[in-house]
């Protein structure tokens, strides 16, 4: 009962052009049926994400480890709440990040869990930059 061949084939990597996403905006693309948030973070959001004491987080991870160096303004995360799988809303909640409407989990501007029942940070999908304005997810 594992995924069949066509489902797996449809899950091949995709390329996303980032040039139309202005600073402070984000887009949602679907990969393997999952929504992927790509946010163009503002300076303020980056600073906030880096200023927190990592050890105090429920799921400690530095912001540096969650983005690609040289592309700090881009945050790419799978937009599926690690609690029970709802889609969090971007630019909501108390941490300048994401807010899950289902049971109230809040994520910061690095997609890390800060408050609520979710146990882990929003996962970062495998991706790399093919050029400065284009990424390949998968």
């Amino acid at each position: 009962m594992n995924p069949d061949a066509s489902t797996i084939a449809a899950g091949a990597p995709i390329e996303v052009d980032l040039s139309p996403v202005a600073e402070g905006q984000d887009i949602k693309v679907f990969w393997r049926g999952k929504p992927i948030y790509i946010s163009h973070r503002t300076k303020k959001q980056i600073d906030e994400a880096r200023a927190v004491n990592v050890a105090s987080l429920p799921d400690p991870e530095t912001d540096e480890a969650r983005v690609k160096s040289g592309h700090e303004q881009w945050l790419v995360v799978i937009g599926i709440c690690t609690h029970l799988g709802c889609i969090p809303i971007a630019h909501e909640g108390n941490y300048d990040g994401f807010f899950c409407p289902c049971h109230g989990s809040q994520y910061d501007s690095s997609g890390r869990i800060r408050q609520g029942p979710a146990p882990a940070n929003l996962p970062v999908p495998p991706y790399q930059f093919v050029s400065d304005t284009k990424i390949q997810i998968g």
Binding site: P3, R32, L84, G85, P101
Partner: protein
């Protein structure tokens, strides 16, 4: 099912069969001569009611499956087509959907009965555990069935519930992938759920056979909890129990029919009339009512794994009940303390259910935690402790002695309580209605409300005109065909008029022999064309918010009625949240934005729209559409007419539903009455 039978059929053909397969003897000994305790009360009829409901669900389900398409793109539409086009499809669907709720209602009564009268105690432990297994299977079946219509709640309910398994350490993720058959809930998930939803009821039926077998070996428990000792303590199953069960089923059918014919959407969620959309989570995900207590337990534990464990152990703990409660006395009738705690437990369960439906914030979370502790404390602390400290009242020596000692007071007092409560509800309702909050849509007088409601033909025709001239430029009506305009219970056009109406539209058809698409005038069988070719185009043309299709809008929109309204609504058959909301939004525009509300660029203020910022500009203004029947051409009248029309598009067979409902009720009341008097006759000298 116990031991060889000495049953001898008189017909030679049956004798021939009986010598080779003693199935008639089995039936005879299990359901005819089988001795049942003579003091059973009506709570014992729920076994028969449950068997009846299982049969009903399988029967309606098999027929529904003949018309249903288990595909992510087609499932939602196929359910709508069942309701609209299949002969009595609306009835089948309502019977099946409400049937699930009724099934769970009956199973809860049955379980609480077992809890109260100690039916799980020695020697009925296996019987009880088999029952818990049936209950678990029912929950799985019910959950997968709820996914099949593939509405928003189906999809997100499936997402949330399947993700529960991801909490399991190590294997969690692979189990979830196995459930999904993909990387997320999608078409493969729907397919396997359909397959399992068809399979599990037959497993349930199999376990039910074991359950009944175990019951007939151990014998039925009874309200006094003393085993039958002599002939005098029992009566033969047929006719005594059969006729009593028949009466119980008839009464239960009255309740069931109330839902089927008058409140089909009362227990459902309006969001499930919106097709599944993997990109948008509904603001508030709630499971079906029968899972709510467990959902509340899940949410009140702040850790994911612990929450999931808590939720499942709330059910599994039932399996250990025979050993947790070590008290010798079975029936709570003779256990003064256990009786009180039992009722506290019932209240705890109901409150947990209520909390499960509330948003997880503030006081609700705290209350949820307290009640979760109470729930487990009942099993882990109260019951074991009571077995030690409680001093039960003396139990009668035999069933016949117990019967002599009591009159029929219990039933009478329950009846009095029900009547009083009903009267209270109805009485307090009128004044309470008036004091509703101001952000709630105001109530309206609709021609289609109430048990005899009918659509106002004039309003339907005017509403169609308003839709065609105003709404249709942005909103589709894709489930409605032109032929529907001439159908009974609709706007009352003739077939020729509907055909003429259709021919005014241009419909895309093809490809023709040359392989090209072409346009032709509409035919009665065509559906209303949509203003936009696809959702993206609709979104792009309307500032990012796609105008929703209006076919189901009056059922897909609602507003929270809140406590205690939803209880009154059950008695008053109030089903018009959707129409009230739609007509309120149409009239709720205001150029003057009240203080404290900020409306973003490109949105408009609307008093009744959630969040107040709506993307749709004010659609109606006085005099915009001309009426030729002299009705006032005001916004209020337009809103009323178009809402009536949209109620019809959402529920074209409503008049047939209410008409048939009345006939069924007359029949059922007569039938239940006859059953009652037959039962009295049969039991005349057994009491």
């Amino acid at each position: 099912m116990s031991g060889p039978s000495d049953y001898q059929p008189s017909n030679p053909a049956l004798q021939w069969l009986e010598r080779r397969l003693p199935i008639l003897g089995l039936m005879h000994s299990s359901f005819v001569v089988y001795p049942t305790p003579r003091n059973l009360n009506y709570w014992w009829t729920f076994g028969a009611i449950l068997s009846f409901m299982l049969g009903m669900q399988i029967l309606t389900g098999v027929i529904l499956a003949m018309h249903y398409t288990p595909h992510a793109d087609l499932a939602f539409k196929s359910v709508e087509l069942i309701v609209r086009d299949v002969n009595y499809g609306w009835l089948l669907r309502n019977m099946h959907a409400c049937g699930a709720s009724m099934f769970f209602f009956a199973v809860y009564v049955h379980m609480l009965r077992g809890l109260y009268y100690g039916s799980y105690k020695e020697p009925r432990e296996v019987l009880w555990i088999l029952g818990v297994i049936i209950y678990l299977l029912m929950m799985a079946t019910g959950f997968m069935g709820y996914v099949l219509p593939w509405g928003q709640m189906s999809f997100w309910g499936a997402t949330v519930i399947t993700n529960l398994f991801s909490a399991i350490p190590y294997f969690g993720e692979s189990i979830v992938t196995l459930l999904w058959g993909g990387y997320s809930v999608g078409n493969p998930t729907l397919n396997r759920f359909f397959s399992l939803h068809y399979l599990l009821p037959f497993l349930i039926a199999g376990v039910v056979v074991l359950h009944v077998w175990a019951l007939h070996v151990a014998g039925q428990n009874n309200p006094d909890g003393v085993e039958p000792k002599t002939e005098k303590d029992t009566v033969p199953f047929t006719p005594h129990a059969t006729i009593k069960d028949g009466f119980g089923v008839a009464c239960f059918l009255l309740l069931y029919a109330w839902f089927i014919f008058y409140m089909p959407n009362y227990l459902g969620d309006a969001d499930n009339y919106i097709p599944a959309n993997p990109g948008v989570t509904p603001p508030h995900i709630v499971p079906e009512w029968y899972y709510l207590p467990f959902y509340a337990i899940l949410r009140s534990i702040p850790n994911k794994l612990a929450g999931v464990i808590g939720m499942f152990s709330a059910i599994i703990i039932l399996c250990f009940l025979p050993w947790l409660d070590a008290a010798k006395t079975r029936s709570s009738k003779y256990r003064p303390l256990a009786k009180q705690f039992f009722w506290i437990f019932v209240v705890v369960c109901i409150l947990l259910g209520y909390l499960g439906a509330q948003p997880p914030e503030g006081i609700y979370v705290i209350a949820g935690r307290v009640l979760t502790v109470c729930y487990f404390a009942y099993f882990l602390i109260v019951l074991p402790l009571l077995a030690r400290i409680e001093r039960p009242r003396p139990v009668p020596n035999s069933i016949s002695e117990a019967i002599l000692a009591k009159g029929g007071k219990a039933v009478a007092s329950v009846a009095v309580m029900l009547v009083a409560a009903g009267a209270l509800f109805l009485g307090s309702m009128q004044d309470a209605r008036a004091s509703e909050g101001s952000d709630k849509p105001p109530g309206n007088k609709w021609s289609f409300s109430g048990p005899f409601g009918k659509y106002d033909r004039g309003a339907l025709q005017r509403g169609l005109k308003v839709y065609k001239e105003v709404c249709a430029s942005c909103h589709g009506l894709s489930y409605i065909a032109f032929r529907n305009l001439a159908e009974a219970g609709g706007p009352g056009y003739s077939v020729a008029q509907a055909a003429a109406f259709a021919s005014e539209y241009k419909v895309k058809d093809g490809p023709n022999d040359a392989g090209d698409m072409f346009e032709r005038p509409g035919r009665p069988a065509d559906y209303f064309p949509s203003p936009f070719p696809n959702e993206q185009a609709a979104r792009a043309a309307n500032g990012g918010a796609a105008p929703p299709d209006l076919s189901l809008i009056t059922k897909a929109r609602s507003y929270g009625r809140g406590f205690p309204w939803f209880i009154f609504d059950f008695f008053t058959q109030y089903q018009e949240q959707g129409p009230d909301y739609v007509s309120a939004v149409l009239q709720g525009f205001d150029d003057h934005v009240p203080e404290g509300v900020t409306i973003p660029e490109g949105s408009y203020y609307n008093k009744y729209f959630p969040g107040h910022a709506i993307k749709m500009p004010k659609p109606l203004s006085d005099g915009q559409v001309t009426y030729d029947d002299g009705s006032p051409t005001t916004v209020a009248q337009y809103a009323k007419d178009v809402t009536t029309f949209l109620m019809w598009t959402a529920e074209p067979h409503m008049e047939a539903r209410k008409r048939l409902g009345f006939q069924v009720f007359v029949f059922l009341i007569l039938f239940a009455g006859l059953m009652y008097f037959t039962k009295k006759k049969v039991w005349a000298d057994s009491h």
